[in-house]
Symmetry: D2
Subunit: 224 residues, 4 copies
């Protein structure tokens, strides 16, 4: 199967053929980023106007992103392939270990201390057995994290990335992985930004330079 | 001076006040990213249609980005502040040291070996004296680079970022810096993506979470 | 109190005065390395000759190293100072995430998978509350680990190092910390190599270049 | 050829057989550490008593270490194998970019700014063509350096280490390489500590856990 020609940016307008979708199972891992209640579950205490503004996001999560991550987890687990999770979670109750982009005022000013259930990965996508869970205090899953070394040690050279938020932790992670010479497949219907517009913008920016953007069907077909 | 309310994304629509533009000169560095001929000078051998497509980019470089970087360099140098450059440049003639995102087919398939004048920083912005130049084989200036440690050692905690391409190396660098707990100011008229649309999209994505986006006038005013 | 002049190597024979023992409590952490059953508890299945060879090590652990680590933990905890633990522990049951020096044949060919009680930190020194525990698959606590970034984020610039084995994980950690610009105090009677001779050799090698070697009494006196 | 049984420490007394000396040429690099005038050339201004104390070191450098590094360089270059150099060298004239272990008082308080000929690699071992030279402000060649990533990108998985000082930068580098899953061969007669005693102590500490210690003849024989 040829890589699709969706989400092609200005840079690649004249260069649509991006090669073959091909997965070597023993060296490929699935990385599910930050599918925690704090990011994908409707908060109970939100003001109605704010809740309304975000409703389109949660519907996409419920109807598209969670089901597709379930399908991907099933496909990887059935084939004995590596599955890895990331979640934002401090070590210290006061969050002193967070990096500045998570301490600062604004959307990302967040504190998910040890034991806070709001920081748990949603039960539909819960890690199993000895699947690795990276607890991070950064946006990119690679910054200040053992993941790069563990992937190298496990012989993983290709990472299939899903999760939220596409323009934030997912984008940072995709860029870090590519810079560390991993081949990256970003699954467009298993990730999400806050709005459709930001989602489309970020996919176009990342595609063909840091990853290839494909969808869940295409990835699963490539697993054979 | 308050931080402006331009480039505010969905995440921050209800939270416009992002604090004060304030710079502590001894702990702030200017980082000029990839202002090399390969990225900002019109190639001689380009097909006319392709040259036409890119002309708007080079005009923005010539008329806006280079002059504003010159003003920023002058302002930092006059105040004895730290100035740092990054450039894409391999160590090996065959480019074997490049990360995958620079080896792979596509826009970023580039090889700038030692001594290639096409990899030189443009003369208007040439490094002086003992200003640090990071030669990188990645997109983020921090991945696999000594910069983070050197900034820590020099007591730098704030970085003013300029250069190209906004959605690629600049975005990756801004994200890495924020994840490493540096405060980042991104100068909107001293950086550039390939098109105005991608430029605006990326500024909106990065602003207020990984950096504050201000312009050259605002930054220079804050230097006092 | 002046730094003592014990363990002075050839390099410093003519330069004995190494300054003051002085600790700034809010920016200093205690790091207890690998005080796990696997390294400090007598294995039940060891051959008599081998057990006899190692007996001097376990006696030093029981009589000197564990009690002094208890004193240090108490002193740090009473003052509200940061306490951090490292332990060797894989994420994967098969140990695929281990680095080569832990996978290879020899002394360090070790596998401490999730849940293995042999990998637990000994109960006398058990971590409490939200004290950080780094699970590592390397010897240096900093290689491929979040510790450096977390220390930076927490404002820690000085690390008091204890634990085992002095010439292996402790030495690698001390060297990495110094290279990352942390001030290091190595506590000679709260760490241990397999034999007195290797212990003395390694202390002499590390002292005054990567750390200052002092003892538990001296460190606690400096805490005031 | 079996790995020799020299420099066997307490840990391996009962486990002498460490396998085969075998080198895969396309994935093996030679790393020559800090063979700069500052470390291997007699300083002109040294007091006679101090010069006398160090004379045994410089004689070992002149008679053993430099010639064996020349032989190794020749052997690697003739076979088209990768050759890499490290040197201690600041970017800033005032050395602000140095890590604490190079800024602090003591033996390692050293400043080798850009252009200082005392920081040059000795001419007998001068880098050629596009051989990589890492300029570092740390002791381990890997801390805060692009080397790990470049080695990964170049497909190098084995490193032959030589240079000075064995117990300092060489030991830190060997430990870092092993922690990053490189196979390491340390060449005992192409490296050196300040004294024979420290030299022997450090070889025993490193051998069989972080590297295998062999000599120049053994390594060259293994190249075939």
């Amino acid at each position: 199967m040829r890589v699709n020609d969706r989400h092609v940016s200005f840079y690649y307008e004249n260069d649509h053929d991006m090669g073959e979708v091909s997965i070597n199972k023993p060296t490929t891992a699935l990385l599910v980023v930050d599918m925690q209640h704090a990011f994908v579950t409707r908060p109970k205490d939100r003001q109605p106007a704010e809740a309304e503004r975000w409703e389109q996001f949660y519907q996409a999560i419920d109807n598209i992103v969670v089901p597709n991550n379930q399908r991907l987890l099933k496909a990887f687990r059935e084939r004995g392939m590596e599955v890895i999770f990331a979640s934002i979670r401090t070590q210290k109750k006061n969050g002193a270990d967070r990096s500045l982009d998570q301490k600062a005022t604004g959307y990302n000013e967040l504190l998910l201390p040890p034991g806070d259930p709001w920081g748990d990965i949603v039960p539909e996508l819960a890690p199993q057995d000895d699947e690795i869970v990276i607890c991070k205090t950064t946006d990119s899953v690679l910054t200040g994290s053992p993941l790069r070394l563990w992937l190298n040690n496990m012989g993983i050279d290709t990472v299939v990335v899903t999760g939220v938020l596409l323009d934030q932790c997912v984008s940072g992670t995709v860029r870090s992985l590519a810079d560390e010479s991993f081949k990256v497949w970003l699954i467009e219907d298993a990730t999400r930004a806050s709005t459709q517009q930001i989602h489309d913008n970020e996919l176009e920016i990342l595609n063909n330079i840091y990853c290839h953007v494909i969808n869940t069907d295409e990835l699963i077909a490539a697993l054979g």
